[in-house]
């Protein structure tokens, strides 16, 4: 699983903030609407109030006009003019004030203002007239003249009354109309307020519920995921419903799970790896032969690393070649081409062998090796390669190589695993080689012991029978019946058996000396011809019962600095072999000298030696014939070769056919070292 990136596109607090501001705007909007819906009603009420006030003024004005009339009536009867004057001023002042107040209140009723102004004018005219009356009275003019003036004044008062009743009528009409209107619209503000409130609540509830629902869902999702993870299900990923803070939290949680899973996977992987390495170590400890080791290593590479091909190449004995021991995955042609490559070739495997450190080559890297041909090695070049040195300490055993399809990259864990695999492999190979050597040594020793015991028992058998025979004759009192000839024959036979035994023991001692490095030569100048002659005599004495003719030709004799007895031993061995494989046939010996090298050629007329056996026969305990077919320890040629080698010479089979084999001993004339 991969960690997911998250882009937060919404936010819970942002949404809440938005909703809050919408609510505030909404409230302001509602207030305005409610205010607007109630403003008409207020206006009506205000007008009604004004009308009421004006009516009140009107009735006061009527009363004051009536007072003025009474005052006017009293004018002729009143003796004190001053009192009249005072009364009039007071009345007139009140009325003026009322009129002005009414005008001030009637700004909404222009018609009323006109009426009030008319009334005011009438009042002013009356005031003037009344003052005139008072003045005339003071001048004590004729009552008649005053009466006319009073009549005119009365006329003005009537006009005033008329105007006042007009005003009253107007106000009453107006008030009735306003009241009817206001009464009619009395529920409007409540209705508007209620509707607005309902819309507001629906809005708030809807949004609130939707947000809380989403939050609840996201949280329950997260909770479920937490539960599943606590139960060990690390594959589960909580679903992100909203790209908000909870989404962010869920994403962080999911990423945490991914990293937990990856940590757990890594842990499991390393556990698996160490378990695997333990298993490999256990399997390898049981693998005793190299092929078993290779099979185990290859299986691991396929199974655990998904390798396409695997190869194991070991350094040849002379350390000049890398030899493929096992290759799987690639075609046989590739194996045949690369089964043995010089360590100097420009190849990844030789590079690894040279530097002793692992090499992980991509397809591009591989193209740089000049030894890899673009056409012939197309398949190799199409694979990523991992080459690992097989090391035991600083000793290089070879290289372990794996090829992988595609341009594979290795992580550190895989590299570590491969290196561990190579280490285990190297140790197992080393062990198997040691085991193999030990096994071969044990087998050789067992075979040697078996042959030695057989060879030692053979001369012992007649010796024991003869000795027991004599004892038996003596016991039966027949010892005197044995003729001197019989006794002599017995003694000779016994001596022969003893000689055979001592020769065998000498051979065994020689081998022991050679193996322990205590083989010393006692060199002296001697003639090759004399040595051969002596050997022929020795041979004839030792093997009386074998009737081979010996044809000795001296082409050229050599005097050399050699160990006479040892060279004699070599020749006797060759003669003994020749008579063993070619009984009753002529043995040809020829000595010559070529370029200061003395040569002894011993040719028999036997069945010959197969080409593949010609090197083998000079090893310890080796014979051309199978063990059962011919007796002998198989030490003769081995000892002979060691002797010749010690003289810095050569012992080999020059040719061999149906006509027989030719063994050649080459000895340098002098070797003073």
């Amino acid at each position: 699983m991969i960690q997911k990136t998250f882009k937060q596109t919404t936010s819970i607090t942002g949404r809440l903030k938005r909703i809050m501001s919408i609510i505030v705007i909404f409230i302001v909007f509602c207030t305005v609407i409610v205010y607007l819906s109630s403003i008409n009603t207020l206006h009506g009420l205000q007008n009604l109030n004004t009308a009421n006030l004006l009516l009140n003024f009107n009735s006061q004005a009527i009363e004051l006009v009536n007072n003025a009339e009474k005052n006017l009536d009293k004018t002729l009867t009143q003796k004190s003019v001053d009192d009249l004057q005072l009364l009039h001023d007071k009345n007139s002042g009140l009325l003026l004030k009322l009129t002005n107040d009414s005008i001030a209140e009637s700004e909404n009723f222009p018609e009323l203002i006109t009426l009030l102004k008319t009334f005011n004018e009438i009042q002013i005219q009356y005031d003037i007239r009344y003052r005139t009356i008072i003045q005339k009275l003071n001048q004590s003019l004729a009552v008649n003249k005053v009466k006319a003036e009073i009549l005119l004044a009365r006329q003005l008062l009537l006009e005033a009354k008329e105007t006042l009743s007009k005003i009253q009528f107007f106000i009453k009409n107006e008030a009735t109309e306003i009241f009817a209107q206001t009464y009619k619209n009395r529920f409007e503000p409540i209705a508007v307020t209620s509707i607005v409130a309902i819309i507001f609540f629906v809005f708030v509830i809807t949004f609130g519920l939707s947000i809380s629902k989403k939050i609840e869902l996201s949280l329950s999702n997260l909770l479920k995921a937490t539960n599943r993870i606590s139960q060990g299900d690390l594959e589960h990923q909580a679903k992100i419903l909203e790209f908000d803070e909870i989404g962010q939290l869920t994403n962080a949680f999911n990423n945490m799970v991914v990293s937990l899973k990856s940590t757990q996977d890594n842990l499991n992987q390393s556990l698996e790896r160490s378990r695997r390495l333990q298993n490999i170590a256990a399997s390898l400890s049981e693998a005793l032969i190299p092929d078993q080791v290779y099979t185990i290593i290859f299986e691991q590479a396929y199974e655990f690393l998904g390798a396409y091909s695997a190869q194991i190449a070991l350094l040849s004995a002379d350390k000049k070649f890398l030899e493929i021991q096992k290759m799987e995955g690639f075609d046989k042609e590739i194996y045949l081409k690369w089964k043995r490559v010089p360590v100097t070739s420009d190849l990844p495997i030789t590079e690894v062998l040279h530097f002793g450190s692992p090499l992980f080559s991509s397809i591009e890297d591989l193209k740089r090796y000049s030894a890899l041909d673009a056409k012939e090695d197309e398949v190799i070049l199409a694979h990523t390669m991992a080459c690992l040195p097989l090391l035991i300490g600083s000793e290089r055993l070879g290289v372990l190589a794996f090829s992988f399809t595609h341009d594979r990259q290795f992580n550190q864990d895989e590299k570590d695993f491969m290196m561990a695999l190579a280490r285990q492999c190297a140790q197992a190979i080393h062990r198997s080689i040691l085991y193999d050597n030990a096994k071969q040594a044990v087998e050789a020793r067992d075979e040697f012991l078996s042959i030695a015991s057989h060879e030692l028992r053979t001369p012992l058998t007649p010796l024991k029978l003869q000795v027991q025979g004599i004892a038996r004759q003596a016991k039966n009192g027949k010892i005197s019946s044995l003729t001197p000839e019989q006794l002599q024959k017995m003694a000779e036979s016994s001596e022969r058996q003893i000689n055979r035994l001592s020769t065998l023991i000498d051979d065994l001692l020689d081998v022991s000396r050679i193996t322990s490095g205590k083989f010393n030569l006692k060199k002296d100048y001697c003639s090759l011809k004399e040595i051969i002659n002596e050997a022929i005599v020795q041979y004839s004495q030792r093997l009386q019962d074998i009737h081979n003719q010996i044809d000795f030709v001296v082409e050229k004799d050599t005097i050399g600095l050699w160990d006479k007895i040892r060279i004699e031993q070599v020749v006797t061995n060759l003669l003994s072999n020749a008579s063993k494989y070619a009984p009753n046939k002529t043995i040809h010996i020829n000595i010559l000298n070529k370029d200061h090298i003395a040569k002894i050629e011993v040719r028999d007329e036997g069945p010959g030696i197969a080409l593949e056996d010609r090197d083998r026969i000079f090893n310890r305990f080796e014979r051309v014939a199978s063990r059962e077919n011919l007796g002998g320890l198989g030490l003769g040629l081995y000892i002979s070769k060691q002797i010749v080698d010690a003289h810095k010479g050569k012992l080999f089979v020059e040719r061999s056919s149906d006509q027989g084999s030719v063994f050649v001993v080459e000895l340098p004339e002098e070797n003073l070292t």
């Binding site: 078996s450 015991s453 057989h454 028992r457 053979t458 001369p459 012992l460 058998t461 007649p462 010796l463 024991k464 029978l465 003869q466 027991q468 025979g469 038996r472 036979s493 022969r496 058996q497 019962d545 014939a625 063990r627 059962e628 077919n629 011919l630 007796g631």
Partner: protein
């Protein structure tokens, strides 16, 4: 002379062969000697009369004791001849596999040899 029991000795070592021959002839047996399995088969195929016992060495050139025994067991005329092996290996493991009558370990003990030969010819 006709009452003399005949023994075929198959042994490649001349000294052993001679020693056994002189001892058993002394005991009144008639000895026929072959130096390997091949010679023994050749002798048996031409012999007018089958031997009463075969003493068989194992390690011999050309045809060893086991190879001889295989040929012997396939030939109905020869299969019934009691055969004793002379083993130089110091062990007698193959007694049952090849149905040998007995096994004598080298170096042979005189009394045992005489005793075993008598027992298997009487």
């Amino acid at each position: 002379m006709n009452s003399k029991k005949t023994i075929l000795l198959v042994e490649d070592d001349l000294d052993i062969s001679e020693a056994i021959q002189s001892i058993l002839e002394e005991e009144g047996f008639e000895l026929k000697c072959s130096f390997n399995g091949k010679e023994a088969i050749d002798y048996l195929s031409e012999a007018p009369q089958m031997p009463d016992l075969i003493l068989l060495d194992i390690m011999m050139p050309q045809m060893n004791g086991y190879q001889f025994r295989e040929v012997q067991l396939k030939d109905s005329r020869l299969a019934s001849i009691p055969t004793i092996i002379l083993s130089a290996a110091g062990k007698c493991d193959d007694l049952d596999v090849y149905h040998f009558r007995d096994c004598l370990k080298k170096p042979l003990d005189l009394e045992t040899l005489i005793d075993v030969v008598h027992r298997n010819t009487d």
